[in-house]
Assembly symmetry: C2
Homo-oligomer: 523 residues x 2
């Protein structure tokens, strides 16, 4: 079929329209609202086109998806409504005069169409795509087209490298005072896996820079930022963050304010609802964020398990090579660690319960979850071995000494004080459902996906006290009726949600010891 390259930009607009603010949050997509009886609208036949270009005299121009309005109270004929975000991008105030015209798809959509046809894109094309996405020129359906076209089989490793580089080029890039800036990152999917909150104080106590910027949960029951927020403030201005890192060597903050690789956030806002998650995009997403955050040395945790994101060792190995290939070429030193992803880590799932686990480990509480402690020590050890003065293999022992001596706890308290101690006191949700075993035997499977979903339905992460507290883990003996876990919720509706979900599937399977799947992990 014939494809035509649309001319860059649209054509000059027709009559003037008065800008009006429409208080609708369209989440990372510009939307313009125009009254159906508007002269400009009627003359142009805009209804057929999905997008318009909004231009002002000598000013910037934005693309927006057009919604037609039939209510003058919202937008009158002669007015153009824009959402807060679109107004911000345009940089104009309500009342300003603008024109609109037929918008051609962004020029880089031509490359996306060639990608759909199976062609290989070059560095400049990925740069153009990333720029158009960063400038909000893509509608969500166009982003979906790009993501699907560059899905599982669609990007080779050079293309992934070029995509990563293009994503880094669009946002800010943090600078730190040291040459070695360490970080750790997990590809996700394992509830309760809050090792960052242990690795950061241990590594910082060793004297290495580890300014960790994290996300809030998008589809999981808690992100590191959500959990850290139980203890301290996590939204800090860049200058304050720099001071803290200079003083403490470590920090645990939300990265959302820093405009790091903003293209990544936009892509994620389409990937998650679509439920697509491909290795190439994962690698580009993680590495672009880390490079933008100023990291030079990075440990990546890939959990493998039947209900983890990566289910087979061979898949994990392929993903590892991909991380190494791209990171090496972008000057980021990466160590990939493949870990046990058969079940949740620690006991708590949800911000308050996970923060409790973390503090128990830091306090050397004998009841602290040992799997969380072991995993954090191993990861921290690998990070510490980035230190040229540390002998290969000594990292774990150094990390353990820092933890056992209480220096990690002291460092965590210092970081909390520096970021600003959380004033609100959060407790586990007071509505509790206890979920018992329906038969005697050994716990042979805990479904990561289902446990995350139960915690989420119970209200996590918005309700910090909501979540799931696991009393039994893989290999534990249980009697019939013995408790497997507790659900905590704060609101009756959430509590009913979570109960209804447990009714259909507890997420646990009890059987015989020989049914426990083997560990895939290597360290």
């Amino acid at each position: 079929m014939a494809k035509r390259k649309p001319p860059p930009g649209g054509l000059p607009g027709t009559g003037l329209l008065t800008l009006r603010r429409v208080a609708i949050d369209t989440y990372r997509e510009n939307v313009a609202y125009l009254h159906r009886q508007c002269e400009v609208y009627r003359a142009e036949g805009f209804q057929a086109l999905a997008k318009v270009e909004v231009t002002s005299e000598n000013g910037p121009r934005i693309l927006a998806v057009l919604n037609v309005v039939d209510d003058e109270a919202l937008v009158a004929p002669g007015e153009l409504g824009l959402s807060e975000e679109a107004l911000g991008t345009l940089g104009l105030d309500p009342g300003a005069q603008v024109r609109i015209c037929h918008a051609e798809p962004p020029a880089s959509m031509d490359a996306v169409r060639r990608k759909i046809d199976g062609e290989r894109l070059n560095a400049d094309e990925f740069l153009a795509i990333a720029r158009d996405i960063a400038e909000r020129r893509y509608a969500k359906m166009e982003i979906a087209a790009f993501l699907v076209a560059s899905g599982q089989t669609g990007l080779d490793r050079d293309e992934i490298m070029n995509l990563t580089r293009a994503m880094v080029a669009q946002g800010e890039r943090l600078q730190w005072h040291g040459d070695l800036v360490a970080d750790k990152h997990c590809i996700g999917g394992i509830p309760g896996n809050r090792t960052s909150m242990l690795v950061v104080p241990i590594v910082a106590a060793h004297g290495m820079l580890i300014p960790k910027t994290s996300s809030r949960a998008i589809t999981s029951p808690a992100g590191t930022a959500d959990t850290m927020e139980v203890l301290s403030c996590v939204e800090l201005p860049p200058d304050r963050l720099r001071e803290i890192v200079r003083q403490e060597y470590g920090a645990l903050i939300w990265g959302g304010t820093a405009n790091l690789a903003p293209v990544d956030d936009i892509l994620i806002s389409v990937e998650r609802p679509l439920g697509i998650d491909y290795p190439g995009q994962m690698v580009a997403s993680i590495l672009s964020k880390k490079i933008a955050a100023g990291s030079t040395h990075l440990v990546i945790d890939i959990p493998v398990g039947a209900s983890a994101k990566v289910r087979h060792m061979r898949e994990a190995m392929a993903l590892r090579k991909l991380f190494e290939f791209v990171a090496d070429r972008l000057g980021l030193f990466v160590q990939v660690v493949i870990t046990d992803g058969r079940q949740p880590v620690g006991r708590g799932i949800g911000p308050v319960l996970e923060a409790r686990d973390v503090m128990q480990v830091l306090q050397n509480d004998p009841t602290a979850p040992s799997d969380l402690r072991q995993k954090a020590l191993r990861l921290a050890g690998r990070v510490i071995e980035f230190d040229p003065d540390v002998r290969g293999g000594d990292g774990f022992d150094i990390a353990r000494d820092i933890l056992d001596s209480g220096r990690a706890l002291t460092k965590m308290q210092d970081i909390i004080e520096a970021q600003g101690r959380q004033e609100q006191r959060f407790e586990p949700g007071s509505l509790v459902q206890e979920v018992p075993a329906d038969r005697a035997g050994v716990v042979v499977a805990i479904d990561n996906y289902q446990m995350a979903r139960i915690a989420r339905m119970a209200g996590a992460p918005m309700d910090k006290g909501a979540g799931v507290d696991l009393l039994k883990k893989l290999g534990d003996q249980v009697e019939k009726g013995e408790l497997l876990y507790r659900i905590h919720a704060s609101f009756p509706a959430d509590f009913r949600f979570a109960s209804a979900l447990v009714e259909s599937d507890t997420g646990y399977r009890v059987g015989t010891a020989d049914q426990i799947p083997a560990v895939f992990a290597e360290f």
Copy 2:
């Protein structure tokens, strides 16, 4: 990467919300508006999810994309705003009580994800996808994912057949009083190609049923419905249409009211803005609409040319086989005709100018454009040969006799009277720009795409008198400064648009006779 099949439907909702009408036209996508301070919203953390499920007591349920509102004048806390279309789908009035909950992606998205991974889908899976799309359970980004995944290399011919069948199964299906219901359809892309308005009266005058339902223009400067509307009403209730067809054998109406293969319209609303147009989807789109319209015999016109949708003969042949394969298996008798798509057909581009061409041909006006006449006669001849009583090869002569004798004109007048003569009198736009040749020579190329774009910018099809009137065609001798075509517009802004576009590219190329491309067409 691990993929999980989401459970069917969402979970039961939480607190009650009062329905409110929001007069925003979101064009074939359900959107729900919820105030940011709404208790239900705050407790649920909906911001992270793109979609919600709206349910009523014992009533239907719909999926909708969630937009968050910060203005109580639009939607207050405790209210749920829905667009007109979403309200209609839900079947409730404003004021009704509803609940909302986290919506899982439609169950059939699982099949879409497998398609993205390169798997082959079966008939049941296409049926489930079509059903979910028809029920507005897909967001536009999900439709984009489906379209891209099933793009150029993604659907084999059995899958195209199953997709077509699934699309037919979703809407209404028209019934006619005869056993042989003829139709003709062009795959599009050639401006001025208004043969349907000649084929229908010729074939109807021969006594064959040809109740033609057409679309309005989506990205072209005129659809058959837009052009017929210059002469008569084209929006008729089904009962009236049936009466007309019983009496006149033919009709030329807009198919949009009949709910024929509604999935096709929804897919098109995403395909067009994305600029993707794949053979498989084209075949499924055209054949599903025709089968739903009750056609039993169909002539398909595939124009081939450098600026047509199909650029090479081998591509046209592959497309022909695809049409034949699917149509045969769905019981539709198809004849594919490959035609000359090197330049626009006739002289006029735009509803009024194209209607003028059509009437000149019907009136046997000696100045009528002969290419339009010839093409219409050939196509009508092929349709007439569906008549078992017509000897193969005689169709063209029968069609010519009907046209030359004035019986086609009489039939057209009868159809116009039956549908209701247009009361408004449309004239070509009074703002005229004449576009001259910049050198002497022979016209060697006329760019279909550029001519359509100029006509569209001049205001077609919304402004019926707007468009382009071609004075020279391929092979014509021109002197320097001699007129190539006239642009007609009614509004100054449109006129400036079109002039600006001509400035950059007139769409014509003047050269020497040997540069005229060869005709690919076969009849």
